[in-house]
C-alpha cells in the first residue's frame, strides 16, 4: 500500500531579526490510508507549524509533501485553496472557540466549506447535508442556529469536527483537539473521533502532548523535539520500550496513580534555543541524562530499531 501522505525533509524557518528560527527541521513522515498517527512533543517543538504546512495553509521553506502521489508542497498556500485536493485534507483545531468565526452560526460554520468546496447546492440540499453532518458528530440540530458563544466547549468541538468532515477529506489533521476541554468532554470527543474513523475510513494525524490520549486513539506515534523527529513507531512498541531518552522522560512524567511507575527520568537544564541551532549538536543535548561526547559533534539520525520503530539517538535506551 502506498502512503496517503508522504513528507520528505520538510523544513520551515521563521526569520527572527537577523537569525532564523528553525521551527521544523528536516522532518520526514508518512501516513497510510486509514491509519491514525499520533504526533507528540512538548510545547513549541513545532507541531503546529508542521501541521499547518501539511494542511497547506503555510508554505514550507524546503522539502516535499506528497499527497496521494501528488506533490502539493510547492503550491502556494493561497493557490492551494483552488485545487481539488483542498477538500481532501482537512483539520480540526486546538481551540474550538478561537477556530469558529464568532459571527457565524454553527450552521454557517459547517456549511461554509461545503459551499466553497462541494456543491453546487440547493438551499434544501445544503441544509440536509449540514444536518446530516451534525447528526454524525452528535450535535443536536436545534443548536445549528446558535452562535459559538452560545455553545458549550464540547458542542463547539463537535461543530469543528463536523466542519472538517463536510468536504469528505481523506486525511484529517487534528491539532490538539481536546486540550482545551474538560476530561469528561474530552472523553466524549475522543470516542466520537475514534468512532468516525472506523466508520469513514479517514486517516488521522493526531497532534497532542498528552501521551495517554495518543495511546488511546492512534496506531503509530511520532515524537518530536525542537523541530526534529526523535522517535517514531507503533504505539505499543514506543510506549512499552521507549528508546529515546526524551520519550522515556515524557512517558515517565505521566502522573501515574502509583500503580506502575518505573524509575522516573528527571530532566534538568534548559532546552536549547531553536534559533540558528548548531546542525552538529543533538537538540536534546544539555537536558539529556545520557549526553555523550558524540551528541555534541554529530546530529543523530533516525535509525530503525525494530519493526517500524525508529529513533534518533546515539545511545538509544532499551
Amino acid at each position: 500500500m502506498r502512503p496517503l501522505l508522504d513528507v520528505v525533509d520538510l523544513c520551515r524557518r521563521f526569520p527572527v531579526g537577523k537569525s532564523q528560527l528553525h521551527a521544523v527541521d528536516m522532518i520526514s513522515l508518512h501516513v497510510m490510508p486509514g491509519e491514525a498517527v499520533g504526533l507528540v512533543g512538548e510545547s513549541g517543538c513545532g507541531k503546529s507549524t508542521l501541521v499547518r504546512m501539511l494542511t497547506r495553509v503555510l508554505d514550507p521553506t524546503e522539502g516535499s509533501i506528497r499527497f496521494d502521489e501528488r506533490e502539493i508542497g510547492y503550491i502556494p498556500a493561497a493557490r492551494f485553496t483552488r485545487t481539488p485536493d483542498r477538500a481532501l485534507i482537512q483539520m480540526v483545531f486546538q481551540d474550538p472557540t478561537e477556530s469558529l468565526n464568532p459571527r457565524f452560526t454553527a450552521f454557517d460554520c459547517i456549511a461554509d466549506p461545503l459551499r466553497r468546496l462541494k456543491g453546487p447546492w440547493t438551499t434544501a440540499g445544503l441544509k440536509a447535508r449540514v444536518e446530516d453532518l451534525a447528526g454524525m458528530v452528535g450535535l443536536p440540530v436545534e443548536l445549528l442556529g446558535r452562535f459559538p458563544h452560545q455553545l458549550s466547549g464540547g458542542q463547539k468541538a463537535r461543530v469543528g469536527i463536523a466542519r472538517a468532515l463536510g468536504p469528505e477529506p481523506r486525511l484529517l489533521i487534528l491539532d490538539e483537539p481536546t486540550s482545551a476541554l474538560d476530561v469528561s468532554v474530552q472523553a466524549v470527543v475522543l470516542k466520537l473521533l475514534d468512532d468516525l474513523r472506523r466508520r469513514l475510513g479517514v486517516s488521522y494525524l493526531f497532534v497532542s502532548h498528552d501521551l495517554n490520549v495518543v495511546r488511546l486513539l492512534c496506531e503509530r506515534v511520532i515524537v518530536m523535539y525542537l523541530g526534529k523527529v526523535v522517535e517514531s513507531g507503533p504505539v505499543e512498541a514506543v510506549f512499552a520500550t521507549p528508546r529515546h531518552p526524551y520519550t522515556k522522560a515524557l512517558l515517565s512524567a505521566i502522573p501515574s496513580r502509583g500503580e506502575e511507575g518505573g524509575p522516573r527520568i528527571r530532566l534538568s537544564g534548559e532546552p536549547r534555543s531553536p534559533i540558528d541551532p548548531s546542525p552538529q549538536v543533538c537538540r536534546f543535548f544539555g537536558r539529556c541524562p545520557l549526553g555523550a561526547d558524540a551528541c555534541q559533534t554529530e546530529m543523530p539520525e533516525l535509525r530503525e530499531m525494530g519493526e517500524g520503530h525508529r529513533v534518533a539517538c546515539h545511545t538509544p535506551m532499551d
Partner: protein, 274 residues
C-alpha cells in the same frame, strides 16, 4: 442589546439623543419655528423669550431655528467625513494588516505622514488651499481621521490574521479576498464602530474649529460651529445666548456620540452578550 440599554440608562439616553439628532437632521426645516435665514434687525440680539426660546442673533435671526436647521448640515458633515475615512481607512488598514510586508510598510508610511502633521492644522491647510466649501471640509476631516481607522483596522486585522477561524476559512476553500470580506471584516467592525461614533463627535468639533478661524461653511448657512464662533464675540458684551445655545447643542451632540461609543462598546463586548 435591550439588556444593555436597560442596564445602562446613560447609553439609552445617548441612543435617544442620537435618534433625536437624526430626526432633527431629517425634519429640522419643517419644525423650525422661523426661517433660519430671515433677518430682522429690529429684534436683533434679543435674549431668550417666549417667542424666541434661544433668543436672536446680531441680525435678528431666530437662534432656535438656526440651531435646528443646522443639525442637518452638521450631521451631513460628520457622517460623510466619517464614512469616507472609515471606508478608505479601514480598507488601507485591512490590506496592511493582512498582507504585511511591503504593502504594510507603504501604507504605514502614508499614515505616519498624515499623523506627522498637526492634524487640525492639516485640516486648516486643506480647507484653506482648496476653498471652504462643505465638500472640502468633509474631505479635510476625512483625511485627518483616516489614520485612526487605518491603524485600528490594521491592528485588528493583524490580530486576526492567524486566528483559528481564519485558517479554518482557508481550509474551507475561501480565497483571501473572501476571507477578508466575509470573515475578517465583520469581526473588526464592532471595535471600528466605536471609533466611528467617537469620530462623529470629533468631526463636528473639527468643523466647528475650522469655522472658528473663519474656514467654515459659507454664511449665512447655519452651522453650529459658525454660530458659536460668531457668538464668541458677543460673550464679553453679555449676549451669552448667541454662543451658548449652539455651543450646548454642539456639545450635546458630541457628548451623545461619545456616550454612544461607550454604549456600543458595551453592546458588542461578547462578554456582555447573553
Amino acid at each position: 442589546m435591550r439588556y444593555v440599554l436597560a442596564e445602562n440608562p446613560v447609553t439609552a439616553g445617548a441612543f435617544v439623543g442620537f435618534a433625536l439628532l437624526i430626526a432633527l437632521a431629517l425634519f429640522g426645516p419643517m419644525i423650525a419655528p422661523f426661517d433660519p435665514l430671515a433677518s430682522d434687525t429690529d429684534i436683533a440680539l434679543q435674549p431668550p423669550s417666549l417667542a424666541h426660546w434661544f433668543g436672536t442673533d446680531h441680525l435678528g435671526r431666530d437662534i432656535l431655528s438656526r440651531v435646528i436647521v443646522a443639525a442637518r448640515l452638521d450631521m451631513q458633515i460628520a457622517l460623510a467625513a466619517v464614512a469616507l475615512s472609515f471606508v478608505f481607512g479601514s480598507l488601507l488598514g485591512v490590506l496592511a494588516g493582512w498582507y504585511g510586508g511591503g504593502i504594510d510598510r507603504a501604507i504605514g508610511r502614508v499614515v505616519d505622514t498624515i499623523m506627522a502633521f498637526p492634524l487640525f492644522v492639516l485640516a486648516m491647510g486643506i480647507v484653506a488651499a482648496l476653498g471652504n466649501t462643505v465638500g472640502n471640509i468633509i474631505y479635510a476631516t476625512a483625511i485627518i481621521n483616516l489614520p485612526f481607522y487605518a491603524r485600528m483596522a490594521r491592528a485588528e486585522t493583524n490580530a486576526r490574521r492567524d486566528a483559528g477561524f481564519v485558517e479554518a476559512a482557508r481550509l474551507s476553500g475561501n480565497s483571501d479576498a473572501r476571507i477578508l470580506a466575509a470573515q475578517v471584516f465583520p469581526n473588526i467592525l464592532p471595535p471600528m464602530m466605536v471609533q466611528v461614533s467617537l469620530n462623529l463627535g470629533y468631526a463636528i468639533l473639527n468643523a466647528a474649529g475650522l469655522s472658528f478661524i473663519g474656514l467654515g461653511v459659507r454664511p449665512p448657512t447655519p452651522e453650529w460651529g459658525i454660530m458659536v464662533a460668531e457668538g464668541a464675540t458677543y460673550i464679553v458684551s453679555g449676549e451669552w445666548w448667541i454662543a451658548l445655545f449652539p455651543g450646548l447643542v454642539l456639545m450635546a451632540a458630541v457628548f451623545c456620540f461619545n456616550l454612544l461609543g461607550d454604549g456600543l462598546r458595551d453592546i458588542i463586548d461578547p462578554r456582555r452578550r447573553t
